[in-house]
Amino acid sequence: MTAYIIRRLLLGVIILLLVTLLVFLAMRLLPGDPLMIFVSQFQTESFTPEQIEELRREFGLDRSLPMQYINWLGDILRGDMGKSIIMGQDVGYLISTRLPVTVYFGVMSFVVSAFLGVIFGVICALRRGKWLDSVVTVLANIGITVPAFWIGILLMYLFSLTLHWLPTSGYVAPTENLAQSLRAAIMPVICLSLFSVAALTRQTRSAMLEVVSQDYIRTAWAKGLRERVIVLRHTIKNAMIPVITILGLQVGLIFGGSVLIETVFNIPGMGRLLANSLFSHDYQIVQAGTLVIAVVVVLSNLIVDISYGWFDPRIRYG
């Protein structure tokens, strides 16, 4: 088990290297120069070409691409994420203030997705072919296909502008005012978890139906067990094995979704920071931000793979 985890972590490091390299190159391939964007912010002042070259040297952008990447990697290993070109602030500080906000919404969305997705899926499977199953299945298909930001805008229109029940956008720290914070979180969490709930519902439903037709479920019925015991003890644990895979994927999807949703709801999190930095070609922030997300995804995948063993005793790690 320990050997397995160590091997997986080493593999994770390789994945992270590839991700950072890919993001690094992709940023350099985008047309546009971050310094030009930086310079264009100041309408009153004009920069001489010498000053711009000076800035270019300051940010190390005058060096060759391999050198830039190696320097950046070295800084990261020393715990230095660099300095934002556009905002001029320390990237580590920026991420440390924005990440908790995204994690706050992300964790809530993840818990909501896991809980609702599994429950809906189980109910659908138990009521297979009944109207409830049909309704939820149709809703799940809609949930998978509609864009979350569009739903976000519709929700805003309905609950904020028309009914005035919820604030349109913004973020209140839970430490500041929990009730306000949760109220403001309702719509973003719905948007962030919509796809995940739908995907998990579908996966849970099909996994449950698969398990229900297994021989050991017939054995359980032949023992005279209650339906509740058969579902809870004999069926769900078996059905969870494929569901866990999908659940693990949601961590990455929710983080990815936060880029859109935080922009729509004007939430000062990692997602919006990344989106803005992407538009302004703020290399350091995009590179460090994607690295943080990649670390979270790699670790969550590892947790998923380890948790298989808890659900399925046949799985051995070696």
Binding site: Q214, Y216, R218, W221, K223, G224, R233, P313
Partner: protein, 330 residues
């Protein structure tokens, strides 16, 4: 000898995309106390479905028990709701079942202990500790070595034969009146097969349980069964004591079955095995007359014109459904 289970005129049909399948079409049988009964027939003849119907373990839909009664302890089991408390109090407690596939009949994610104790806790109201002790005893009884240490193993750590022993232990855990073994030895090798059958025989003798062996293997029933029902295309075509069936078979299908299996002590000249020609009928849109007719070498004009004959007595406990007296013809 008193009758424990009396099934009358059972009909179980399945609605499929291609039409109505009359898997069991008017089957009557009974199980006496402390008796070993064999239910024999080809794959798909409805023998398993008959037993699952009695336990109300048929998936509804597509299945449906159309008619019939199954009297047990003065009550008709088929009147109970399939998921209701009364039916559940019978299953596993009064009538227990062992299934064909030992590799898939135990839940892969639950320990053997959990799977053995749950019937004890449910039907005998044992507490966890007592149930665990009893589980060890049961596993020892069915011949699982080092039962204590294997209690917390998972099914995948057991071989097929061992898993079937666990199934037998679970089935016998609440001391049922009837044990239904649905093809219990089909999926294990021949040596294990014999061991399991010996074990089941020993167990039902010890627990005074009646045993129903559902099988396509005549050799299995020849050795163990007191009485035999032969099924074909959803009906019972012949029934009788083992001697009747093996020494004085009357239905052309039974005769065909016996000719197609090797027997010890045959002389060289008649060692040749004669298969039954043709295939079992498609159970969708069955003709009114005898379903065995297309494969029957004894058939007469009457078989073609008249409906499938009812079972009629030819001996004290010997019944056959055939218009032809095969004794005359041969």
């Amino acid at each position: 000898m008193s009758v424990l289970l009396d099934v009358k005129n059972l009909r179980t049909h399945f609605h499929t995309h291609r039409g109505l399948v009359k898997a069991v079409d008017g089957v009557s049988f009974h199980i006496n106390e402390k008796e070993i009964v064999g239910l024999v027939g080809e794959s798909g003849c409805g023998k398993s479905v008959s037993m699952l119907s009695v336990m109300q373990l048929i998936a509804i839909p597509p299945g449906k028990i159309v008619s019939g009664s199954a009297m047990f302890d003065g009550h008709d089991l088929l009147k109970y709701k399939p998921k209701g408390d009364e039916m559940r109090a019978i299953r596993g407690a009064k009538i227990a079942m062992i299934f064909q596939e030992p590799m898939t009949s135990l839940n892969p994610v639950l320990t053997i202990a959990r799977q053995v104790t749950e019937t004890l806790e449910l039907h005998l109201k044992m507490d966890t500790q007592t149930a665990r002790k009893r589980a060890v005893e049961l596993l020892k009884l069915v011949g699982i070595p080092e039962a204590e240490s294997r209690l917390d193993n998972y099914p995948h750590q057991f071989s097929g034969g061992m898993r079937q022993r666990v199934m037998i232990a679970i089935a016998l855990s609440c001391n049922p009146k009837i044990l239904i073994a649905d093809e219990p030895t089909t999926a294990v090798d021949v040596t294990t097969q014999a061991q399991l059958l010996e074990l089941m025989q020993e167990m039902v003798n010890r627990f005074n349980t009646s045993l129903v062996i559902v099988t396509h293997n005549l050799g299995v029933v020849a050795r163990y069964a007191d009485r035999i029902y032969v099924m074909y295309a959803g009906r019972i075509v012949e029934s009788g004591l083992s001697e009747d069936i093996f020494l004085r078979p009357l239905h052309p299908y039974t005769i065909g079955l016996l000719k197609s299996v090797p027997q010890l002590g045959q002389t060289k000249s008649d060692r040749e095995l004669v298969p039954i020609s043709g295939l079992p009928p498609n159970l969708i849109d069955m003709p009114q007359n005898c379903a065995f007719l297309p494969r029957c070498s004894y058939h007469k004009e009457r078989c073609r014109l008249e409906p499938w004959p009812e079972l009629h007595a030819v001996g004290a406990q010997h019944y056959v459904s055939c218009y032809v007296d095969t004794r005359e013809t041969s």
